[in-house]
Assembly symmetry: C2
């Protein structure tokens, strides 16, 4: 299929939504845990998490335009702290269910059968079964004018990675971790490692040496 | 492993870089094609591409702080147009090689043995072998103050998806597409579909009905 601007704008809405949501390829999915101002826990699945920097250690989330149901965004504004939790395959169905529009008075941990973990070191709720748990504090945010989405950047203050999936060089074995990725809005994928390469140098591969351009 | 702020700051540099780059989970990787002001093509691998919105159709790229080698960023500033190309497994090694510091006068297409495709409909270079090719035009950008990275948002103007991987509802079969994902800076993964769920409703799963909080 080939589509240009006018084709894209005239696509049937759900077809366009599915297609455009797949163009970024496999997206990491995380469960974001927050407390509201009453201390009620909230848990929501997000597939718009991005690495921002390693030093200082920061990650970002792109939020849809803020509305009545934006519990996670509002909770972060109120408490500044939130958690990102990798989703093991065993939690796929429950994790997807957190995207239902539960009322603010409901904890998705309870409603979706996901075990909540609270720790003294960081004041936001974690997903107990996750092998990778990250605690972050609000650092800055930016409004995307074109569609009113918001990039929220958090600084990493707490990291818990299961020893069995952490490699000596700091890499995480995403095969072993069974952390889910998402395709579009309804499909979930597991990762299978197929290649690893050393830091690329111009001279790394003689057969790929640059030729002089005439 | 459990690490708090002070542990993270005192980690050995490459260990921290690898670890933090893995916390976002599997990251979609794309080859970004641009022309410089002399019409010289440039191709670079990026793992920081994010879905921004379906209508208007937009995607974003988080760029490292701009330096002498930021050819892709500078080319987009000059020409506004760029392409995102999914990376099939067969191109993994050549795609990784584009991350070497080739001089501005060198086309990574040539240097890394990747076939360049130019089309009349969109004025930026595509990767011929990619099954998913996207043409975008600069829309807006935002400086992340905490670390001087830049979120650049582009509007999608051209889409080419191989018919064999496009499903009737607009989803792309990422298994069939063999589009690579990345773990950290050196590891590449393929995606295997493990689940698909309908739009989640509060009443979707009786066993997960929310309980009244006392």
């Amino acid at each position: 299929m080939i589509a240009q601007t006018f084709d894209i704008e005239s696509m049937e809405k759900s077809f366009r939504t599915n297609l455009i949501n797949h163009l970024s390829g496999g997206k990491a999915v995380h469960l974001i845990g927050t407390f509201n101002e009453q201390g009620q826990s909230n848990l929501a699945i997000f597939s718009n998490v991005i690495h921002v920097g390693a030093n200082p250690a920061m990650m970002g989330i792109l939020f849809r335009p803020v509305g009545a149901d934006s519990h996670t965004y509002k909770n972060i504004q109120a408490n500044k702290r939130f958690t990102l939790n990798h989703i093991p395959f065993s939690l796929a169905q429950q994790a997807h269910q957190t995207s239902a529009r539960y009322p603010l008075s409901t904890s998705e941990f309870e409603a979706c059968g996901i075990e909540e973990e609270r720790i003294p070191e960081f004041d936001a709720p974690f997903v107990k079964q996750s092998l990778v748990k990250i605690g972050l504090i609000w650092e800055e945010e930016h409004l995307i004018k074109s569609n009113q989405t918001i990039l929220l950047v958090g600084k990493i203050q707490y990291i818990s990675v299961e020893d069995s999936i952490l490699l000596p060089n700091g890499n995480i074995d995403l095969d072993l971790a069974q952390s889910l990725s998402a395709g579009g809005l309804d499909s979930y994928y597991q990762l299978k490692k197929v290649a690893q390469f050393p830091y690329a140098k111009v001279s790394a591969d003689p057969s790929h040496e640059p030729r002089r351009n005439s």
